[in-house]
């Protein structure tokens, strides 16, 4: 089962950073070492409020399918369109670099709102 193609209610994106190590000498001079050419620790937080329990279940099933936070995955084209709905910049701007895949940062948090209606929050992290 691919990641659910549902537009989120809210989305926050953290582009992460390149693997940079900073060293500071005693005189205050700073030396920065670049250890790679790919951004990592990209974070995507998505919340889906007031969706049906059936849709919310899809996230739980997907979380199970990826063995929780263990396996990485990519978004299908449909999911990508849904995830970045409303974004009018370049789609790639909100994507991790090639070779960086998503995994769950932690388990989705499900809240039941009323019978048949739930809210779910998903946190993803991009890893090399």
């Amino acid at each position: 089962m691919p990641y659910p193609s549902i537009p989120p209610t809210a989305r926050s994106y953290d582009p992460g950073n390149y693997p940079v190590r900073t060293y500071r000498s005693q005189n205050g001079a700073e030396v920065r070492m670049l250890y790679g050419n790919k951004r990592f620790d990209v974070k995507l937080k998505l919340s889906y409020t007031n969706i049906s329990d059936v849709l919310a279940e899809e996230f739980l099933l997907h979380f199970d399918e990826t063995i929780g936070t263990f396996s990485t995955f990519t978004f299908s084209p449909e999911a990508r369109v849904a995830l970045f709905a409303g974004w009018q910049g370049t789609q790639g701007a909100l994507s991790p670099p090639s070779g960086v895949n998503w995994r769950y940062e932690r388990a989705p948090e499900l809240a039941s709102v009323r019978p048949g209606i739930s809210a779910i929050a998903v946190s993803l992290v991009g890893v090399i």
């Binding site: 549902i6 537009p7 989120p8 209610t9 809210a10 989305r11 889906y48 409020t49 007031n50 969706i51 970045f84 709905a85 409303g86 974004w87 709102v113 009323r114 209606i117």
Partner: protein
Amino acid sequence: MFYSGTQGKMFIDGVKAAKVRSWSVSSSLGLLDTTTLGDTDATVTPGIRTNTGSCSLFYYAQSDGSGGANSASVLIDKLLKAGTEGVAAEAQEVVLKLEIDDTGVVTGPRYIQGPVYLTSVAMSCAVGEVFAAEVAFQVNGAFTEVVM
């Protein structure tokens, strides 16, 4: 045909209340926002419905000095409770039936009925005014019958 207070009735636990001045009922629906990123207009899904109402009854006696219960006292006793050592009994649920009765029409009376808790009772005694009770209530759950 139009209706007015002439056709209005109220029943307290199945007993017709006397000297009712007015009743009103209101039902409101809370909506849950389902708007997502990319939407230009808000979308909603039904949430919780809240049914409330109010009524006004004269507080009276059948005859001078007779005292005893009247519809207003029966109703307000569901909320007002004397305490013993600071502890009073809980408020009681009461079944209210609010009716518009146009006798003679085939369809029969129109009414709403449900279990309610009184949420407020207000009474004021003033010169030049008949003693009355203003009661507000909230339906506990859904109406049990709605024939409107």
